[in-house]
Structure formats: C-alpha cells, structure tokens
C-alpha cells in the first residue's frame, strides 16, 4: 500500500522509529496525518476528496472537531486514530480507529490494512470522548486510587489481588506509578469535563501528582 505521512507536532502514537513511518512514500491514496496538531493539516490537504483514506491522529478530542458534524449523518473518507499509550510508557500495539456514522467503508478498510500491515492491531469505535480504553480504564484507575486512600487494602495487596484474581499482568497502582499519575489526572480531567461522569473526576492521589508536576 502506498501512503504518505505528514507530521505536525510531536506524535504520541509514533514518537520514534516505526515500520509505519519507514515504509511511507512521498505520495499515495492514503494519507496519515501525525502529531499533536495533525488535525490542523486537514483543511489544506490537497485532493482531499479523491483520497481513499485520510487518517488523523487524535489526542483526547473527538474526530468531529476536525471534520465538523451534521445531524448525526457526518462521515467521509476521514478516519481518526490513536495508538493506545499510558502516560510515559511506550505505545501499545493497539490502534483505536475512530469512525463517524457515515464513514466510507473503503477508508476504514484502508486504515485497517495500513496499520495491520505495519504489525499493529486495530479496534473500531465511534467518535466518543475516551474512545474505548480511556473510557473504560480511567474510572477504574480512579476507583483504585480512592480505595487506597480509604484503606481498603495496601497497594501491594490490591495489585496482587488483581494479578492473582483476574490475571492482570501488572496491578493498577504499580501501573500508574510506572506510567505516571499526573498524565492520568490530565486525561481523566478532560474526560470528566467532556462526559460529566463523576467516575472520571481524578482521584486525590492523581491530583496531587499533577499539582507536583506543575510546581
């Protein structure tokens, strides 16, 4: 597959060398817009309607911020994506693909082929704050931190319970310590503002870590 990569800002999905970047060409009917400001490239992109797919890297924002929305009937050859990554950890091999209601099937198929061809895995979701993983994980992380404050069990025992009882590779507290409590607080706060669900309100320990990071 011939695809072109255009970069605007630091990419959280592809912060370093990767096969997907190495195999890009100077032109192609699929365009990957990467970086923290990837969506800003969209309005000025040449031959936009002729492309099979335009893939826009997303942060915490919805794809609709870049494409616009129209009465629940929006959708085109533009597909959003984000490679899941917790805080300072390396990106995972999971790419969340974001589609609008009338996304072009060929664009979606192109996106799946491109990422899977680069050795990654894709999961599809509609355009909603937090996509799949942040939507599921942030309230869980906050609940764990709150229970730690309430003395439900020690951090080690909570982590051990999740590993032995559910087969998690790492307990939640250790995971947040490794990947960063402050970045968790920032994403969780953004989702709380977007969704209004109290489960996303950053737990005290995450707020403390964020405050310390910004001192």
């Amino acid at each position: 597959m011939h695809y072109q990569v255009m970069i605007n800002g630091v990419s959280r999905s592809f912060p370093g060398a990767h096969r997907l970047l190495a195999e890009a060409t100077t032109d192609g009917d699929v365009v990957v817009l990467l970086g923290a400001r990837a969506g800003k490239l969209l309005p000025s992109l040449a031959r936009r309607d002729e492309r099979r797919a335009i893939l826009v890297e997303l942060g915490t924002e919805c794809l609709g911020v870049h494409t616009g929305e129209h009465r629940g009937a929006e959708g085109s050859n533009v597909i959003g994506f984000a490679r899941f990554r917790l805080g300072d950890a390396e990106p995972s091999d999971l790419v969340e693909l974001v589609v609008q209601p009338n996304a072009a099937p060929a664009a979606l198929a192109g996106a799946q082929a491109l990422f899977e061809g680069a050795g990654l895995h894709t999961a599809l979701c509609h355009d909603a704050p937090g996509r799949i993983l942040d939507r599921l994980l942030r309230p869980f992380f906050n609940a764990t931190l709150r229970r730690l404050d309430e003395g439900l069990a020690t951090a080690d025992d909570m982590d051990l319970t999740l590993k032995l009882g559910l087969g998690y590779p790492e307990g939640t507290i250790a995971l947040l310590e490794r990947t960063g409590l402050a970045p968790h607080a920032e994403i969780s706060q953004t989702l709380h503002e977007a969704l209004g669900d109290p489960g996303f309100l950053p737990a005290r320990r995450a707020q403390v870590a964020k405050a310390r990071a910004h001192r």
């Binding site: 995972s92 999961a123 939507r135 764990t144 009882g165």
Partner: protein, 292 residues
C-alpha cells in the same frame, strides 16, 4: 484459639466443592454439608473426578488418592459440623440464608469454632450480626475455581477478634492459598472493581460506541489482560451480573455499580452467556466462541 484441624464446608455447589478440595488436599479433615443429598452426591463424584485427574497429571501421588478421599465426608445434618474448628459457608448469596445457616450451626458447634463466609458482595459485619458469635466470623472469599486459584480475600468484620482472624488466616495459608487482607467493604477488592468495570464495558456496547469484540480486543491488546470484559461477562453469566450489581449497588449506590438495562434485556431474551449458548458472543455445543 484451638488449632484448626477439621474444616466444614457448607454448600456443595461449584464453590463449596472447590473449597472442600482445597481443604482436603492440604490435609484437613473436611466435612461437606448440604441440605440436598443429591447435590452432595454430585459434589462427591466431581471431587473424586478432580483428584483422579490430579493423579493422571502427576499433581497427586496415586497412593495419596484414597488418603485424601478418606479425609472427605458429606452430611445433610448440621449436627455433623459439631466437630469442626472452622466452617466456611458457600451457600446462596443472601443475608437471610447465611443468617439462618450460621444461627443453626451456632447451636451445634463448640464455642471455639470460627465461621467464615465466602460471600463476594455481602458485609461480613452484617453476616456476623446474625451468627450468634460475631467476634468469631471472618470473610474468606475464594476465587472460582477455588481448587485452581490461590487468591483468598480475607476480611474481618467490625467485631471480629484478632485471634479469630489470625487463626483463619493461618488455616488459609496452611491450605496452600494466598490470603490478602481487605476491609469489610462491598465487593471487597475483586468484585468492588470488576462489577463496575464490566458495567462500563456493557454501557459502551449499549451506547453503540464499540462492539463487544472490539472492546475485548482493545483491552487484551492495549492492556495485556488475559480476557476482555465481554468474554468474561459471558463466562460469569449475565444473570449473575444482575445479582452482583443488585448487591453492590444496594450497598454503595455507586452509579457505576447499577445494572445497565442492556443486561436485563439480554437475560430476558435468554442470552445468559456461555451457559445458554449466547451472550455477547455465540457458542456452539463444544463451547467454541463465535463473533469475536
């Protein structure tokens, strides 16, 4: 506190049988009690089959098989639990049922006998309140299947004595299990986190944000979890999820613990999960999963 040598297990369902295997395997004289003689007979045969497999797999020496099985007896009479130093209940998850059981056992068991509850959602303090001996009641929540899973969540109630908790903890370790201490909190650690987490996944499906297969794939690939929430819910059973939600939401009023309407619709449609052949996925008679 007397040394624990004889363990009673009240309830001979999947969990009770698993706990009985754990206790007998570790050398405790084990008495399984159930009001239903047919259920006891089924449990006995499943326990024998488990130990026979253990011999085949080299996990148990062949000459130990009759020794282990000799340690296990069954009874439909509560009076037979009078010899127990520790009784672990694994009966229906209802405060009234557990109160009735412990009140009956309190009349036949000696004062030193510790009562343990395998509850996953009810308060140990509330269970202890109807036991006649609240200072000698502890929470001992084994994970399914108990005979394979090492973890036991152990919780003291508000009035549990330190000596009772320490004796039960020691017995748990002597059974080869790994206890972790938790507060007497609804759902303890595992269900306290898992039930709302699984509900959040159901709500993503309900809102049309993602399909079960995409949610499971994202969790497994993104987080390295062995199983996605929708697969796990099919294994647990959607009807069981309703019971767990009702217990947890009833105790906490946490909106995340409230049962999503989709679950009730699925149960009404007979989509209970693996056991009915259809839940978030479809299953054939061999248990193979489709739709992932």
């Amino acid at each position: 506190m007397a040394e624990i040598k004889t363990v009673g297990v009240a309830g001979s369902g999947t969990m009770g049988s698993g706990i009985a295997i754990v206790a007998a395997r570790a050398g405790f004289r084990t008495i399984v009690y159930d009001t239903d003689a047919a259920a006891l007979a089924r449990a006995r045969s499943e326990i024998e089959a488990f130990f026979a497999k253990s011999v085949e797999r080299g996990k148990l020496a062949a000459d130990q098989l009759p020794v282990v099985l000799d340690r296990l007896t069954g009874s439909t009479a509560p009076a037979d639990l009078a010899a127990c130093d520790l009784v672990i209940e694994a009966v229906f998850e209802s405060l009234a049922v557990k109160h009735a059981l412990f009140a009956a056992l309190d009349k036949v068991c000696p004062p030193h006998t510790i009562f343990a509850s395998n509850t996953s959602t009810l308060s140990i303090t509330e269970i202890a309140g109807g036991s006649g001996r609240p200072d000698r009641v502890v929470g001992m929540h084994f994970c399914l299947p108990a005979q394979l899973m090492k973890l036991v969540e152990m919780s003291p109630g508000l009035v549990t004595s330190e000596a009772s908790f320490a004796a039960a903890w020691q017995a748990c370790e002597a059974m080869g299990q790994r206890p972790v201490k938790t507060k007497d909190h609804p759902g303890f650690i595992l269900n306290g986190f898992l039930v709302p987490f699984n509900n959040d996944a159901i709500r993503l499906v309900e809102a049309g944000i993602a399909a079960p297969a995409d949610i499971d794939k994202a969790i497994k690939r993104g987080m390295g979890y062995a199983m996605g929430p929708c697969e796990l819910l099919d294994l647990i059973g959607l009807d069981t999820q309703i019971l767990l939600c009702e217990a947890l939401y009833g105790a906490t009023h946490d909106p995340r613990a409230a049962c999503p309407p989709l679950v009730r619709r699925m149960v009404a449609a007979g989509h209970l999960g693996r056991k009915s052949g259809r839940g978030f996925y479809r299953y054939d008679e061999s248990g193979a999963m489709f739709g992932a």
